[in-house]
């Protein structure tokens, strides 16, 4: 579903991501862990087609994001760490805009908006301007907009930040459902307990380089993910 091959992204002379390769298959929830400034967001933005990169390539469903950006973007959705949305639109106007871009039919968008907005308890607020939303409500709206076109791959940057416990629980359930239906999720998080419980696979990045990746139980090897992460941080210092 997602194949990252030797991805390198530089900001001037600084290598934010250095020769990173990862493969994510259908049905997998893949956690992406690293300290602040390790290169997680840069990697996720490169996959989402927001940032151009210097070397390597990214394939989504077998298509290169460099060569077929539109086809790749149609197959995926991206949720950023800080949901800066169009504050001049109402929630439902924003969702309709996203649905129009993905050419989601009127019937499908109506069903999906109702399903996810009801689930995340946002239906009553959809007519409100986004400027009146709290951080958590914006995050919920970003989540709904990501699911509106039924994507095969979902890229999430710290998706649980700002969500209340109920919404976090529901989002985890939605993520599992997506993967059960053949989708794939690649997300970054600092909450190691969540990653350990939720993810089939985990990748740890440090200073732009992939330190370790694989099945969660292979990475942790009977230790907690927190211990493994801290050990790796110390070893590579």
């Amino acid at each position: 579903m997602l194949r990252i091959e030797h991805l390198t992204k530089k900001y001037d002379d600084f290598k934010a991501v250095d020769d990173l390769s990862l493969h994510i298959e259908q049905g997998q929830i893949y956690g992406f862990i690293g300290h602040n400034g390790a290169g997680k967001t840069t990697t996720l933005k490169s996959i989402a087609g927001i940032l151009p990169f210097d070397e390597g390539d990214i394939y989504i469903d077998g298509k290169s994001i460099k060569d077929n950006p539109l086809e790749c973007k149609k197959a995926m959705a991206y949720i950023p760490d800080n949901p800066d949305l169009y504050e001049y639109l109402s929630g439902v106007q924003y969702l309709n805009f996203i649905a129009d871009v993905y050419q989601v039919s009127a019937k499908d968008r109506q069903e999906r908006i109702k399903k996810y907005a009801d689930l995340l308890d946002l239906t009553d607020d959809l007519a409100q301007p986004i400027s009146a939303y709290s951080h958590g409500m914006k995050q919920k709206l970003a989540v709904i907009s990501a699911f509106i076109h039924d994507p095969k791959l979902i890229i999430m940057d710290e998706p649980f930040v700002g969500l209340d416990p109920k919404a976090s629980h529901l989002l985890k359930q939605i993520m599992k459902d997506v993967c059960d239906q053949g989708g794939a999720i690649f997300f970054s998080t600092h909450v190691l307990e969540v990653a350990e419980k939720l993810c089939d696979r985990i990748a740890i990045i440090k200073q732009g380089k992939l330190v370790i990746s694989g099945r969660t139980q292979d990475v942790t090897q009977n230790e907690s993910l927190e211990d493994v992460f801290l050990e790796l941080e110390d070893t590579h210092d």
């Binding site: 539109l70 991206y78 800066d84 169009y86 109402s90 106007q93 968008r109 109506q110 409100q128």
Partner: protein, 531 residues
């Protein structure tokens, strides 16, 4: 501690003006440019007020109404400071974003309040200097001043902004409360701003007539001030006659409201700083949804964004307002204009190029596209991660500019053609030329914004008022609108007729537009990908 707070506030005030994109520190060139621009504005205002006081000083002295000179100065100071600071006061006092941060620190509430008051006061002193400065110099040079008069003048200079501050705090409180309850506040701001501009232009156009009326009715105006605005009267008498009793009356009148407002603010600061704006919640009612074409949806998004902020509209599309006002003026003064055209052979012969140039000149004030990329701000990720071609994004930005400006251009051109009784060919020329220029500015603005985008703005008003692409587009478009007639009048009028010149200008404009659009499709698309 209060010194640190004031320092931070003042730094914030000036840093906003010179801050570069991507948090780089301001370059020396940019600081020099800002100082030059501020200096230019100061010189213009001092010149304007200097001319006004210069025309008043002698006639008022001959009427033995010297005190009225200072009374008028004080009234202008109060009005100017009030208009200049009422919205800043609202922002600093009642809508400050850093109240909670500051209140969580070991700072006294009094110090937080005073630091905010000081910034407004500082601005008021600058505004006051632009009026009282030339008023003092003119009076000193023309009439001379004693040491006593100078001392009282300085006391008045220092205390008058305190009264204005009390007034602005009170009015800004009302404005903040009204705005919090109004849903379509951008419409109110737009209407008020247009009203303000109309009053400003009217005032500037008729200032000489008003000065004449002022001089002719000096005595009755003096009587009205003496009876109705007695603190102003005593202020003026205090300066003119060095009258201590009048000075005391004025000081009590100026300082009492200030002390009272400060006391009231300090009592209510916590409530004021922590209260949330009340707005009525709109409950969503499910309705059948409709699928739109992607381009249409992108265009609707651009229109909603552009019309969501009155300041963005006013700064980007002043030409539209002027075109509509111009169209109205054409209808109202139609017969007068027709008579003028008949009386002046040059105008009659060249009415078509003149109308074309009028459309071009007014159209040069529309610089909508110059900030449309920057206005995406930290929401740029949305359109970048969606499956949209870059050229479609850029095309809809151009389209927004055109659908906003072309209808107003058409109204003006059609009305002008009918009033001036032009034939079809001439009418087409009057219709096409301003619109070709509109396309030129739309393309130029977008190229400029792609070249120098600025995404880290504090608010959208700063983005549309102070960013480099906006300035450059404005100067180039206004410069072009100026150069086109000048080039003909100075160099080419002996070589060719104005009609031929207009046709050449239009052909050149078409070629430039084609080249600019080619640049947008090639370089522009590549540049957008890297943003």
């Amino acid at each position: 501690m209060i010194k640190t707070l004031i320092k931070i506030k003042l730094q914030g005030l000036f840093y906003r003006q010179v801050k570069s994109s991507k948090n780089k520190s301001a370059s020396k060139g940019k600081i020099a440019l800002m100082i030059f621009l501020f200096g230019y504005v100061a010189v213009v205002f001092c010149g304007l007020f200097g001319a006004l006081f210069n025309s008043l000083v002698e006639p008022l002295h001959l009427m033995q109404l010297d005190w009225l000179y200072f009374a008028l100065m004080a009234i202008i100071v109060i009005m100017f400071c009030f208009l200049g600071s009422v919205f800043i006061t609202e922002h600093e006092m009642y809508e400050a974003k850093d109240n909670e941060l500051l209140m969580s620190m070991p700072l006294k509430n009094r110090d937080i309040l005073l630091s905010r008051v000081f910034v407004i006061l500082f601005l008021n002193y600058i505004y006051e200097l632009l009026i009282a400065g030339p008023a003092f110099v003119i009076y000193f040079v023309k009439r001379g001043m004693t040491v006593g008069q100078i001392i009282v003048f300085v006391v008045v200079f220092l205390t008058l902004p305190l009264f204005v501050l009390a007034l602005t705090c009170a009015i800004a409180w009302v404005v903040a409360h009204v705005m919090n309850r109004v849903r379509k506040k951008n419409i109110i701001v737009l209407v008020l701003s247009i009203g303000f501009f109309a009053v400003y232009f009217y005032g500037v156009n008729y200032i000489q007539e008003y000065i004449l009326i002022l001089i002719q009715n000096g005595r009755s105006i003096a009587q009205a001030i003496e009876q109705g605005l007695f603190p102003i009267y005593h202020l003026s008498i205090a300066i003119e006659q060095v009258n201590i009793f009048s000075l005391l009356i004025y000081l009590v009148c100026a300082l009492m409201p200030f002390v009272f407002v400060m006391w009231l603010l300090s009592k209510n600061f916590i409530q004021m700083a922590t209260s949330q704006p009340k707005s009525k919640k709109i409950k969503y009612v499910e309705k059948p949804m409709k699928q739109n074409a992607m381009i249409k949806s992108l265009l609707i998004r651009e229109i909603r964004h552009f019309t969501s902020n009155a300041m963005v509209m006013l700064n980007g599309a002043m030409g539209i307002i002027m075109t509509i006002i111009g169209s109205g003026a054409l209808v109202i003064y139609a017969s007068t204009l027709q008579e003028i055209v008949i009386m002046l052979p040059f105008v009659k012969e060249n009415i078509v190029p003149i109308l074309c140039l009028m459309g071009v000149g007014v159209g040069s004030l529309n610089i909508i596209t110059a900030s449309l990329i920057s206005l995406e701000g930290n929401r740029l990720w949305i359109i970048k991660n969606l499956p949209i071609r870059e050229i479609d994004i850029l095309n809809t930005k151009l389209l927004l500019h055109l659908i906003m400006c072309i209808p107003a251009n058409l109204i003006f051109s059609i009305i002008a053609s009918i009033i001036m009784k032009l034939n079809i060919v001439d009418s087409l020329l009057v219709i096409i030329a301003p619109n070709l220029f509109t396309v030129f500015i739309a393309l130029l603005g977008l190229l400029m914004n792609l070249w120098k985008p600025k995404f880290d703005w504090v608010n959208e008003t700063v983005c549309v008022k102070q960013s480099m692409p906006v300035m450059l587009t404005m100067f180039i478009s206004m410069g072009t609108a100026f150069v086109i007639p000048m080039l003909y009048m100075i160099v080419l009028s002996d070589i060719m007729s104005a009609f031929i010149y207009m046709y050449i200008v239009m052909i050149v404009m078409i070629l430039i537009n084609v080249y600019f659009y080619y640049l947008i499709r090639t370089w522009g698309v590549k540049k957008f990908k890297t943003l």
